[in-house]
Structure formats: structure tokens, C-alpha cells
Symmetry: C2
Subunit: 332 residues, 2 copies
Amino acid sequence: MAESSFDVAGIGNAIVDVLAHADDKALVALGLTKGVMTLIDADRSDAIYAGMGPAVECSGGSAANTVAGIAALGGKAAYIGKVKNDQLGSVFRHDMRSQGVTFETKAAIDGTSTARCLIFVTPDAQRTMQTYLGACVELGPDDIDADVVSGAQITYLEGYLWDPPQAKAAFRKAATIAHAAGRKVALSLSDPFCVERHRAEFLELMADHIDILFANEAEITTLYQTDLDNAIRALKNHVGVAALTRGAQGSVVTDGETVVSCSAEPVSAVVDTTGAGDLYAAGFLYGYSQGRDLGTCARLGGICAAEIIGHIGARPAVDLAQMVAHTLSHTV
Amino acid sequence: MAESSFDVAGIGNAIVDVLAHADDKALVALGLTKGVMTLIDADRSDAIYAGMGPAVECSGGSAANTVAGIAALGGKAAYIGKVKNDQLGSVFRHDMRSQGVTFETKAAIDGTSTARCLIFVTPDAQRTMQTYLGACVELGPDDIDADVVSGAQITYLEGYLWDPPQAKAAFRKAATIAHAAGRKVALSLSDPFCVERHRAEFLELMADHIDILFANEAEITTLYQTDLDNAIRALKNHVGVAALTRGAQGSVVTDGETVVSCSAEPVSAVVDTTGAGDLYAAGFLYGYSQGRDLGTCARLGGICAAEIIGHIGARPAVDLAQMVAHTLSHTV
């Protein structure tokens, strides 16, 4: 196998997050389902934005957050996703490249604007997300750069990619290229409602294409329609490695042979849980790409997740590489 | 005098802030002068942005931050400033209106984009600002809504308005309308380099038009080219009320008769000083519009400044009204 150009290549919906604080009453008034990601059209996006408080804009997108985290850890990361050539598209591209992520996917010239996700952060630090996919619907197989994918140790995609029409074809192409090059393919289940929407396809995809799976408890139990213990047993036949996040209870990781539990990192104040799963995946995959054992991968995931929930936004605000240096130097 | 529709109407450069962490070395590499606001053109803005780390976008603009703060305190606030009808212009307008600020100035249809300020926040919490004025250069006398200005107890403007070509004419028009309606006019000196650029005009303006002045130590000593004590003496003949901020040493306020010193509010961690002066002005002007004594106005200013320096960005992140409720109920 050729030496890798990248540790991880992420494929996902390229989204700018619009974050505002809100109380539960405001969610009810706007008719929002708390704690999940809901897809909305442009009109609904405008209407909800009009009812949203003062906000800040940060680049987001699940897989984009993950590869930004990997770059912040010192890993070599690439990204494939579709923005429009508008102001928010420029913001998104800037934030990827300035973090050190290779991001060459062509911007859409016509059509709808760069995607945005309206995120309401409630006092319990929970996030409620309304996504307008915009230009993400333009991502298709032609956007898959074979050199990037075949040159990446791991190709990582978000389950949310199953929502826009052509992206699943793009991902299947990427998975085929990756496996032909002897690489690994990872998937995040993204959201329990996303799992509901695409259960059959996700199960088939896992059997055919997925080496590493990320999910939280709600997602994995929704996928298998069973409890966590039974889901872990079911995973054994489905994927090589699975990392299941459990919020304040840490994570459970398995390679089919062994099951390792890892407690959560202490956090002084949980401010905004946006991106917790994405940064867990960043820490885990960075460790995995460096050949670390499962327990160390899980710890790295937990450290990165703990950093991201301490502030608003889903991109790292500190030097993650420095943050994990102690852990890396004290494990094998 | 007619009852007021607004406590404060702010006039300023409508700007979206782009904030990123940076170390002193990065400032040197980009050739930036630390701690001040520098005006740049579109090409230089693109070049500096390309060298900037991952960023977040927040609505900013000095006077805009102040009126957003007044609205957050429960005051009635209006704003006059120029954005373009682009994505960042929509973000700016949304953030004003959703805070409860009346903002009806027409967006520019043609010409350059909505203004942006590239802000580098160093580990000492100091901010270094590079402003591309964009659509702000379109603000002119026709944008001054006489009903808004004559209906506001205080019309507040930022010294930065002297940078774009037509804005000073807009401000002179506003000051004339305000005084004809028996209202007060306030000015912030904005920045020591801004004072250098416009010293003669500021001195003349103060003699003719200004009832309340805001400045920090560097700005007021630059204006009068003397030390703080002599500057305070000079102010006596120049403006009715002056509020001078001194960072960690709090503030000094004077109405020409008395001089009141107010110590700074305790802050657990200073994260980003962007907007400290703007929010001091918000607290002070809110108190002033409620008929509070100078010392209370200064304390309110200090409380609002302390809130804003505890997080990234120059717009309030908490319920300021609740934050000052105790102070307001325990003073006359």
C-alpha cells in the first residue's frame, strides 16, 4: 500500500452554523423538536431565523468539524463538501484551509446559497438544529477526488450525507476507491432521526463498506431497534470497529473481540454540546491513524469532546495537539 | 419636549467582526500594529484574511455594539448605519433587530460588500483590528432619519464615523436635528489613531455639538496632547459630561463640577477585550437615560464592560438587564 497523503479524508455537508442562546419556551414557540437535527427548506429557514435571537456564525458541518479537529491535533486531513461561491461559502473554505485542512471541492456557481444550520443552545447546553442544505444538494460523484480518497488512511463520512439526493452516490464511489486502495472507511450515524430516515440503507452500507462506526446510544439503539447491549452484540457481525458515545457516561468501543469502556473527561462547565460527537470522532480517528490501541483512541475522543462542549461552536478553540500530548506520551 | 421614542439612537459603521485567536508572532508576520484599529482596503483585507486562523463571525461595529447593549439592558434603542444587501449584511441586520434594536437604514444595492473587521485576539485578551469599510462609505446625510434622531433622548456616534467620506456630514445633520429637538448628543473617540487622524475636527465638534464624551486614557491624552489630569481639566470647557475608561483601573467621570472615580468590576477571566469601551458606553448611557447619577452610570458601564470581556465577541452573551438589576435597585 502506498504511503498515505492524509490521515483522514472527511466527506460531508459543508455548513455554516448560526448559533444563538434560547430557552425551552422559545423552542416551543417556534415549533422545534429539541435535541435533534431537522431538515428545513429556504422559506422555513428564513422564518425561523427571523424568530431567532442575536447569533454568531461559525463554520460547522459534522464531518468538517471532525477533520478540522484532526488537523488541530496535528493530523493530515482533507475534506470534500459543497459550498456556493458566496460570502458564507468563503467563510467555510477559509476556516477549513486556515486550520490546515486540504479542501479543493469546487464551489457551486449557480443555485441555492451555502448551507446553514440554525442552532438553538438551551441553558442545559443541549443543541437543537435546523438545517437548510442549500448548495450541499449539488455534491455528487464528480466531486470525489480519487487522489484524495485513495491517499487517505481513513475516509470518513457523516450519515447526514444520505439526506441530499446525490451524495450517497458520491460516498459509495469514495468507499469503493478507498477499499480498492486498501484503506479504511468510517461512518457516523449522525442523528437518531437520520437513522430512522435511512435505516435499511445504513445497515446494508455497514455490511458492505464500513470498517469503523461512530454512533451515540440513541442512534445505535434506533438502528438496531434494541438496547445497547444487544446493539453491541449485533455490531460484531456488521463492522470491524465501533465507538459508541454515551454523553456524561463516556464511551464504549469494540473491535468485535473486546469491549472497552472509557469514562468521560471531567468538564468544568458544559456550555454547548454542538460538535461533541464530531470531536470525539476526531480524537478517536487521530489515535487510530497513529496506530494507537482502542482505549487510547477512546480517551483521545473524550478529551476532544470535552474541549468542544466547554464553549460555543463546534470547531476547536484551543491547541488540541498540546491538550492531548500528555495522553499520547503516556500510552502505547 | 416631546416624550422620547428611544433612549439612545446610535450612528456608526455597520460591521461584521471576524474573530480569531493569534499569538504576537502572527501579528508581526502579518505586519499588524497591536491593540489598535487600522483601516484596510479590499485587497489587503483578503490578504490578511488568508493569513488568519479559523474564525467566528459576530455582528460588531462600535456604536452598534453600544445600542445592542442598551437594548439588552431593557432600553429602547435605534441604529443608523449602512450594510450591503448581502449575506453578512443580513446577518448584521438580523442581530440588531433580534436584540430589539430598531434598524431601518436602507441597505446598499450596488458597490462594495458589507464591512468587516478582522480581529486578532492575542493570549493577553488584547484585540488588534483591521477594518475594511466596504458599504459603510455609502452612509450619508440622506440616511439620517429625522424622526429617529429627534425622538431619541441621546444620539450617540462613534469617532470611527470620521473615516468614511460622507458620514461626518450625516452626523452633523443628526446633531443639529437632535439639538433642535432639545436632545443630547454623545461621541466616542473610538481609537487613539482615529483621534490622530481627526484631532482638529473632533475638538471643534466637541465645542459645537457634544454633550457627553466617551474616551479611554490613550484617546483623551492623544486628543489634548497632555496627561490625564490636564485632559480632565481641559474637558471642563469642552463638553458637559465626560466618561474616561481606564481598563483594569475602572473609569473616571466628570460633569465639569465633580470628578467621580469608579473601580473596575471583578472579572474571573479576561478572554477578549473587543467591545469593552462600547459596552461601557451602553451601561453608562442606559443609566444616564434613566436619570441616574454619574457614579451609578459609571458602575453600570463597568458591569457591562466586565461581561463583554469574559467571552469572545462584542455583543452581550447574557441577560444584561438581570445583571444590573441589583445595582439599579440599590442606588438612586
